[in-house]
């Protein structure tokens, strides 16, 4: 089996793995980047959310062979104005509790704000509905997304 070639956080990445292996396990265990989390293995919790060619995907249910040639961005590699605004808002409002789901939350929030600079509460509900938080930090997640949107206006 030839290695699968992708871009991971801006760098070329050649993975020697079963093409069925979910992107999440390849990133965590082969590339050694553990910021993206395993929570359900079935695209039900969003803890594994990464960007593939700019779109948020559930890496636990994305076979790595299906995205050969794509640009993958994880929480470790996310950058730019929107990402910074989101991470700053998260720290400013002390959103996190245990923090385990938060890299996935942030990846979804960055994707939302990249598409929609001024999301309503309903926009937030539909964009963030796939990201579970068992500590239930939802009130602050919502506030931080509004906060980041405000910061990006300036």
């Amino acid at each position: 089996m030839p290695p699968i070639k992708l871009t991971l956080n801006g760098k070329p990445w050649s993975v020697d793995a079963d093409p069925d292996m979910p992107l999440l396990w390849a990133v965590r265990e082969i590339a050694g980047k553990t910021g993206s989390k395993f929570g359900c293995g079935a695209a039900q919790c969003g803890a594994c959310t990464m960007h593939v060619d700019g779109q948020p995907v559930r890496a636990c249910s994305t076979p790595i062979g299906s995205i050969a040639g794509s640009k993958v961005t994880t929480i470790e590699g996310i950058e730019g104005k929107v990402a910074r605004a989101v991470q700053d808002a998260w720290v400013k409002l002390d959103v996190v509790q245990c923090g385990y789901c938060q890299s996935g939350q942030i990846m979804s929030a960055v994707a939302l704000l990249t598409d929609n600079a001024k999301p309503t509460d309903q926009d937030i509900d539909s964009a963030m509905s796939g990201n579970l938080c068992r500590c239930s930090t939802y009130v602050r997640i919502r506030a931080a997304i509004h906060e980041a949107a405000k910061a990006l206006e300036i």
């Binding site: 553990t34 910021g35 395993f38 002390d94 245990c98 963030m128 796939g130 068992r134 500590c135 009130v139």
Partner: protein, 761 residues
């Protein structure tokens, strides 16, 4: 400020204050006999007690960096931040120069480390102040000696020492080495800071020490640990609790590329406590290969007697038990006569199913066995229990087990049980000492948990002709946590009954609480707030039902039932447990319960009219020595769709150390309460859990969470007052307040959880 978890277990004693030998504080001498010493409470009654030797917890480097060692598990309560805030404040350290390290599991050294029971600040606030004050006084003494002046003339001033008369000043780093060589001042010699001068304690804008690492993906949880030459494993466990392997074929599993070995794990006899369930482990070069290999195993199990466990049938058993007299747990007056004479009788049965903690990080750990020693990197709430359990399964001494504590990706009680860590340890040994990472999938987590109990609570009340309550009969029936650890346990323990079943402070002349038998058929364990959940759900729903029968406002009726402010010794309510706190210092204070009820009602606008289809409900509960009351506002539309526009929660935990984290805990508790009330259910059929993942074990998502949660903290008299717990007490009042609100909005009384689609038209 930095907050990486580096587990520099020895660094704290090498970097400054800790240099030299240390003597463990506390503990009885060998000659002391138990009957010579007064009964211990709180942290002092915990295994390992509370340590307050600054040399264990504080190191000052020559450059002035202060390293504070936290020995509690960080699982979202913000303890690493709050812990350091107290020490840093009391020692007058500059927060910008403070960093936090994480202690490994070592109870003999650090004192009790069980991070559960809402105890971290409750048990340690005063000890942390002593640690900070002692460190400050040692630094001051070192400066005084260097200057040749009396220590009384030296004052600490924000990370430096000052001699006002001569204008001289020395930084903490400059005297650290000299201070480290000094004796620790005796407890009586400690001088505490005037709380008016606190810089960090009580402030809401300190910021989390782990916030940056978490939001940038740098933080390390148990599941993230990577070791050289590490293997990855998953386990096929018996689908029925207590089941055993009978026959298995592993050839197909071994053909999966990356699978290295299949290992048999023994099943411990029931009751199995913290021990693993046994089964077949697949060890591989990566987790994906291990998972694929596990799918290829062919296993025949002997399910054992629990194969008959069926939640529907079990519910009927619990209901039958609740309808007959049971073991009396509390009795005052003559309930039977009073019920017969009552003008009105109200009876209600409440059901709440099993729940799974389902922390977002499923149980996971790395173990490496070297000879007769074992190193663990794991996400655990109980590092010492982990040491003991690993030692037991490996037959090595507990002191040979090192537990490196990582961040915990959610615990809620699940990670107080180290079964998964023991599995990792057994697998590392089976792989000749290679490090092994053991991961539970979500299905493993739901199928092989230590579940919240299931219960039927039956209440019967009598009202006189004026609507005054004259009789209260509560039968609580639920399998007990102790049944997981000891054979033949069929009754709730003192702690379970003391979580809101016996200890109701009601002004009712005739009151009886009974606990009929219930047999356990699965592993029951602690779940955030534990038995307070079913008890508060039933008791606070029933108070509203009685109020309705009496034609009274539920808030006014609740306040009358609580009665005037008074201090009740919990033992007078047949609660000899009282969260292991002193029954006098931690008396049941009905004034504080009234206080939160009145505050929540006032803030929520209780009594103000709402549009049709909306309603408010109220509930109050004391747990973990704190008092909480919630007013939930609901809207139910014509189709029966429930939304929760607003929740007000008033909270009295005594002195508040980190107000922002107290608020955060309550915000989370409100939504977790909503989640368990609306969606939470684990059920069994043929002994097996029926829920496999978050599609069938649903938890609240952002769109269903209340959007407006208002936390109202009650002011505490002073910082010397006893502290209550924070992590758990917010949960219990939420479900009943929600159900009471639904009743107010629709006239419908829901007594069986979860609500799910019971409101659908």
């Amino acid at each position: 400020m930095s907050g990486t978890i580096t587990n520099l277990s020895r660094r704290a004693v090498l970097m400054g204050l800790g240099a030299g030998t240390f003597v463990l504080a506390g503990g009885l001498g060998p000659a002391a006999r138990a009957e010579d010493s007064p009964k211990k409470y709180g942290g002092d009654a915990m295994p390992g007690g509370v340590k307050d030797d600054p040399r264990l917890f504080v190191a000052v480097a020559a450059d002035g960096t202060v390293t504070i060692l936290c020995h509690r598990a960080e699982m979202g309560q913000g303890v690493r931040t709050s812990w350091a805030m107290v020490i840093a404040d009391e020692m007058d350290a500059d927060w910008a120069k403070v960093r936090v390290d994480q202690a490994p599991g070592d109870e003999a050294r650090y004192g009790n480390q069980n991070t559960d029971g809402s105890r971290s600040m409750r048990h340690h606030f005063q000890a942390l102040r002593r640690i900070g004050a002692a460190a400050r006084q040692m630094l001051a003494q070192a400066a005084a000696s260097q200057w040749g002046v009396p220590v009384a003339e030296v004052t600490a001033d924000h990370h430096s020492l000052m001699h006002a008369a001569s204008g001289r000043r020395l930084g903490y780093g400059e005297v650290a080495a000299a201070a480290a060589a000094l004796p620790v001042p005796a407890r009586e010699a400690l001088v505490f800071k005037d709380p008016a001068k606190f810089r960090y304690i009580g402030r809401a804008d300190i910021g989390l020490v782990d916030g940056f690492d978490i939001t940038t993906g740098r933080a390390t949880y148990g599941i993230d640990v990577r070791r050289e030459n590490m293997l990855y494993a998953v386990v096929a466990r018996p689908p029925v609790h207590g089941g055993k392997l009978v026959h298995y074929e592993v050839d197909e599993a071994l053909k999966v590329p990356g699978v290295v070995k299949v290992v048999v794990l023994n099943t411990a006899p029931l009751p199995s406590g913290f021990l693993p369930k046994g089964g077949l482990a697949v060890v591989a070069e990566n987790t994906w290969a291990a998972l694929k290999g596990r799918e290829k195993l062919k296993i025949t199990w002997d399910d054992g007697p629990n194969v008959r466990y069926d939640s529907a049938a079990y519910r009927a058993e619990l209901e039958a038990a609740a309808r007959a007299p049971g073991q009396v747990a509390r009795n005052q007056g003559d309930v039977d006569t009073a019920l017969k004479a009552a003008a009105k009788r109200v009876t209600a049965e409440y059901y709440i199913p099993h729940l799974a903690q389902a922390p977002m990080e499923p149980p996971a750990a790395v173990a490496q066995v070297t000879g007769d020693a074992c190193e663990i990197w794991g996400s655990t709430q109980a590092p010492q229990t982990t040491r003991e359990t690993v030692a037991k399964v490996l037959s090595i001494p507990a002191v040979k087990v090192t537990v490196h504590q990582t961040l915990v990706g959610g615990g809620f009680g699940r990670k107080s049980k180290p079964d998964y860590i023991a599995e990792a340890a057994l697998l590392s040994r089976a792989m000749d000492g290679r490090p092994v990472k053991l991961t539970f999938t979500r299905t493993d987590d739901l199928h092989h948990g230590f579940l919240h109990t299931v219960s039927v609570e039956r209440l019967e009340g009598g009202l006189d002709a004026k609507g005054k309550p004259v009789a209260w009969l509560h039968r609580t029936v639920a399998p007990a946590i102790n049944a997981t650890f000891a054979p033949g346990v069929k009754h709730e323990g003192a702690s379970e009954l003391g979580m809101g079943a016996v200890n109701t402070p009601w002004i009712v002349p005739n009151l009886r609480v009974e606990n009929p038998e219930a047999e356990s058929h699965t592993r029951i364990g602690w779940f955030r707030s534990v038995s307070n959940i079913p008890h508060a759900f039933a008791v606070q729903s029933f108070v509203a039902e009685l109020a309705a029968a009496a034609g009274r406002d539920p808030k006014d009726f609740l306040l009358d039932l609580i009665g005037p402010g008074r201090q009740i010794n919990p033992a007078d309510m047949a609660d000899g447990w009282n969260y292991n706190e002193d029954p006098v210092a931690y008396a049941y204070d009905t004034g504080r319960l009234r206080g939160v009820v009145e505050r929540a009602a006032k803030e929520a606008g209780w009594g103000k009219p709402l549009p049709k289809g909306q309603g408010r409900g109220i509930a109050a509960h004391r747990s973990f020595a704190s008092y909480a009351a919630a007013v939930v506002q609901v809207a139910v539309d014509a189709q029966g769709k429930l939304t929760i526009p607003r929740v007000d929660i008033a909270f009295d935990c005594g002195p508040v150390i980190n107000p922002d984290r107290v608020r955060a805990q309550l915000e989370g508790a409100v939504i977790q309460g909503v989640s368990l009330a609306t969606l939470g259910e684990i059920s069994f059929k043929a002994g097996q859990v029926q829920q496999d993942n978050f599609d069938s074990y649903e938890v609240t998502r952002i769109e269903a969470a209340p959007k407006d949660i208002r936390v109202h903290l009650m002011p505490a008299a002073q910082y010397d007052a006893p502290l209550g717990g924070v992590g758990e007490p917010g949960v219990p009042p939420i479900a009943p307040a929600l159900l009471n609100a639904i009743h107010a909005a629709t006239g419908k009384r829901i007594r069986s959880l979860p609500i799910r689609d019971q409101l659908r038209a």
